[in-house]
């Protein structure tokens, strides 16, 4: 029973790790940067409105570039 629970917990932990980090840790970093920027800029509406989408585009570009290099 304990063995089954342990296996289940390990499988769940691995699933969460793969989902959040997997082989694209930079995506998680980008998301954290965007969330941090959103908090920092919450009171400065206009800057946030422009910066948050641009951060997402830059983050996507970085991740695609990294994926491109990894496939070489």
């Amino acid at each position: 029973m304990t063995g089954a629970l342990g296996r289940g917990a390990r499988a769940a932990a691995r699933f969460v790790w793969d989902f959040l980090v997997g082989d694209t840790p930079e995506v998680l970093v980008v998301v954290l940067v965007i969330v941090g920027a959103a908090y920092a800029l919450g009171g400065h509406g206009a800057v946030g409105v422009v910066l948050l989408p641009l951060l997402a585009v830059a983050g996507l570009g970085f991740s695609v570039w990294r994926g491109y290099r990894a496939q070489r």
């Binding site: 694209t24 969330v35 409105v49 989408p53 997402a56």
Partner: protein, 272 residues
């Protein structure tokens, strides 16, 4: 009378976000269910009864998970906290889907091949013992396939539905896609390998990234001009950006094949 333009604008914004939500949920569910169908059909080569039972149980588990997690989330958490958390979650999924779709669209990553998955799964099942009426291996493959492919759909339904207080609408969108795939699967009686999966993944990636940025901003106190009307603007921005990146990757790939050194530099310019 003076409030009429405001009322019209609000109605337009609501309709826009409703359509965007339905497209995101329906598209995501369609992609995942097509992948699940391949595994169910492969399991069906051993026992259709067990494959259907595994599918049905997985759908029940997914439905209960949506209700048990989604309904309390929608009603108990403060809306700003909820939007920040699910916005981050949607961004994570959206950027991952878009990244993969761009690399596949640009020819840098092999496209998802349902026929190959089917052949591989049938081959693996051939080594399992069992009988034709009730087959444990077929049940497990169908159950795990639908559950794992459906889990991401559940996350999307809960995230999009709970944040906009339209959990029911999001669930209907996902269920509609599941029904469409199931009916198509029954009609053609095989895996759906002709579905333009990468195009669908691109659309869903754009929508999830849009909602992610929108709700992270809203949750942190950013006020979008036009409220929900900012959503189509964000959709256009991310779709255009993904399109440009596909072209750059394609150029880089063909440049690398022909030995031209300039193409990878062009891709590098995007990242910097």
């Amino acid at each position: 009378m003076l409030e009429l333009p405001y009322v019209t604008a609000t109605a337009n914004a609501t309709a826009t976000s409703t359509i965007a939500l339905l497209v995101a949920v329906f598209g995501a569910s369609l992609v995942e269910m097509v992948e699940a169908l391949t595994l169910v059909v492969a399991a069906g080569t051993r026992s259709w009864r067990s494959a259907f039972e595994g599918t049905a149980l997985a759908l029940v588990v997914l439905g209960v998970t949506t209700a048990v997690i989604g309904i309390p989330l929608a009603h108990l958490l403060p809306i700003d906290t909820l939007r920040l958390v699910v916005g981050a979650l949607l961004l994570l999924m959206g950027l991952s889907w878009l990244r993969k779709a761009v690399l596949r669209g640009g020819g840098r990553l092999a496209k998802h091949d349902e026929d190959a998955v089917y052949v591989r799964t049938v081959g693996a099942l051939a080594h399992e013992p069992g009988d034709k009426v009730r087959d444990g291996a077929a049940f497990l493959v169908a159950f795990k396939g639908v559950l794992l492919e459906g889990f991401e759909v559940v996350l999307i339904v809960i995230s999009l539905g709970a944040s906009s207080h339209r959990l029911g609408l999001a669930a209907v969108g996902a269920a509609a896609a599941a029904v469409v795939v199931a009916v198509a699967g029954v009609v053609v009686a095989r895996q759906l390998s002709d579905v333009p999966e990468n195009a669908l993944k691109t659309v869903v990636g754009v929508m999830l990234t849009t909602f992610g940025v929108f709700w992270v901003g809203e949750g942190a106190g950013v006020r979008w001009p036009g409220d929900d009307l900012a959503i189509p603007v964000l959709v256009a921005l991310f779709a255009a950006s993904a399109g440009v990146m596909v072209l750059l990757v394609r150029r880089a790939v063909s440049g690398a094949r022909s030995g031209a050194p300039a193409a990878p530099t062009a891709l590098g310019d995007v990242a910097s």
